[in-house]
Amino acid sequence: MPFDTKRIRGPEESQSPLLFLSPAKVPESSSREGVRGNGDVRPVFARCGLISQAKGSAYLEAGNTKIICSVYGPKEIERKDETDMKTGRLVCDFRLAPFSCLKRGAWIQGSEERDLSAALLESLQPGVCLHKYPRSQIEVNVMVLENDGSILAHAVTCASMALADGGIEMYDVVLGCALRQNGESCLVDPSYTEECGNWQAGYGENQGCVTLALLPNLNQVSGLTAEGDMREDTLTDAVRTCMDGCNKLYPVYQQALIRAVKKKAPPPEK
């Protein structure tokens, strides 16, 4: 391999400066410094219909977590199998922009992002009336612009907003909420530092993360993932707190969608 003299090559093995940062201390008393209570969700800003070519789109900001989602379809499927004859197919693609986290990610989809896409698909699928779109495919593309914690939960809310904005028929909206269990106390809608904090090193009892996707009007859970090491009763309490967290998001969701519908067209004459 001819040696490339022009480019100045850095040291073979370089370490990112982040390692030498002192790990941000998770507030030991695990109560947030008065900014918001443990059970409060970060303030959410949401806007629909901002990508013109997409059928439906939505942008959501929760604290510093910024997510944009676009919906295309229903489109024709090339490779069909028998199940596509009766119901439509939902295809989800979850991407983290390379600049979204502290450490620069890669453009190609890593296995972790593929896992998040699968979790997003499983959370959205129960909410969409796929039987109304036989032989066709609805594509949902989520892009995380800035990752400040609980990206899957907010991605679920953003994606279902984009679907509703795209005029895709749905049984119910899908709202997502995440929670970080730290010993006996739990932090709803954790930020990035709270989410992984010193949990990796922590050997205490009851450490973990829970993400939940909820259909609020039908009171059905459409997605649930939990990691870490928790007692079963702590887990059930965490799921209940997550459900309350989701219900808190419903007004914002409703207001954003109604604003978009009003902006799109005046009410039809009687």
């Binding site: 909410g127 009892e205 829970v210 059905q220 649930l224 993932t225 090491d229 007692r231 079963e232 209940r240």
Partner: protein
């Protein structure tokens, strides 16, 4: 999983059967199929185990290699998972067919073992920041008849129990670099404490009840299933709702409670079986695939 087609009538028959607590093969809702487990099946691995749960056959091989610890946790070794859905199980897994299922399975395994208590990672460290043991856990799926997660987790626990990592001494060589020598006595090796390793229980929601150890046919009639991994103390290390449908919160709580109960009761017979097999030592007549 491999695609199984069922007619509407067969699905209705299965759903009503589950309602009467009598499944196709006569089992109750929380019974496992006939299970056979054997360790040390493949000789050039550090630990191996084979399980056949009904017609689901899984073979797990563990190889320990020396690697660099992760920068964030310099004083610990780590586990790497790889699931190989071989074409042996079904022709659909030929070529790249089995890859996305394999990635999904290994991602879930990372989640299940991604906590501090299951395997004592600090015992895997040789010299902090420089050398540590990396356990490559390779799961080979040979025959697939549903309930892969449970079979895999039990086989992994048995394989970890069977793993022997040879002891290592650290010595300074001339230029001050660290020199690693393996002890030459093959029997002087380190065993892993698998007491806290969790087992996965998959509960499929069929009709209004949930079922444990579902076959491919039963899985085809289930809308959603909950995967829960439980340690012998009853703590939950991973929960995942899977499948196209949604579940109401009550049934989720019911399923996690049942999952904990069933999961907790898996560990005792498994450890007894492993101890019994260990005690047989050389007299044990190796069966493997020749049985």
């Amino acid at each position: 999983m491999a695609a199984v087609h069922l007619s509407e009538a067969e699905k209705v028959y299965i759903i009503h059967g589950v309602r009467d607590d009598l499944r196709l093969d006569g089992r109750g809702c929380e019974d496992y199929r006939h299970m056979e487990i054997e360790t040390d099946v493949v000789s050039n691995t550090d630990g191996s185990a084979k399980i056949s749960l009904g017609h689901t056959d899984v073979l797990v091989g563990i190889k320990a290699e020396i690697g660099k610890p992760k920068p964030l946790v310099p004083n610990e070794g780590y586990l790497e998972f790889f699931v190989d859905c071989s074409a042996n199980a079904t022709p659909e897994f030929e070529g790249r067919g089995g890859e996305d299922l394999g990635v999904e399975l290994s991602n879930t395994l990372y989640k299940v073992f991604n906590n501090r208590l299951s395997v004592d990672l600090r015992s895997l460290c040789i010299s902090p920041g420089e050398h540590c043991w990396v356990l490559y856990v390779d799961v080979l799926l040979l025959q697939c008849d549903g309930n892969l997660f449970d079979a895999m987790s039990i086989a992994i626990k048995a394989a970890l129990f069977n793993t022997r990592i040879s002891k290592v001494q650290l010595s300074e060589n001339e230029e001050g670099g660290k020199e690693i020598e393996l002890s030459d006595d093959p029997y002087d090796c380190m065993r892993l404490d698998v007491e806290n390793v969790p087992c996965i229980v998959t509960l499929c929601k069929i009709g209004h009840r949930h079922v444990v150890d579902a076959t491919l046919q039963e899985k085809a009639c289930s809308v959603a299933s909950v995967l829960i991994s439980v340690t012998h103390r009853g703590t939950v290390t991973c929960v995942r709702k899977m499948g196209k449908g949604s579940l109401d919160p009550e049934s989720i709580f019911e399923m996690t409670e049942a999952g904990k109960r069933v999961g907790k009761s898996l560990h005792a017979p498994l450890m007894r079986l492993l101890q019994e097999e260990e005690s047989l030592g050389q007299k044990r007549q190796k069966v493997g695939f020749l049985g």
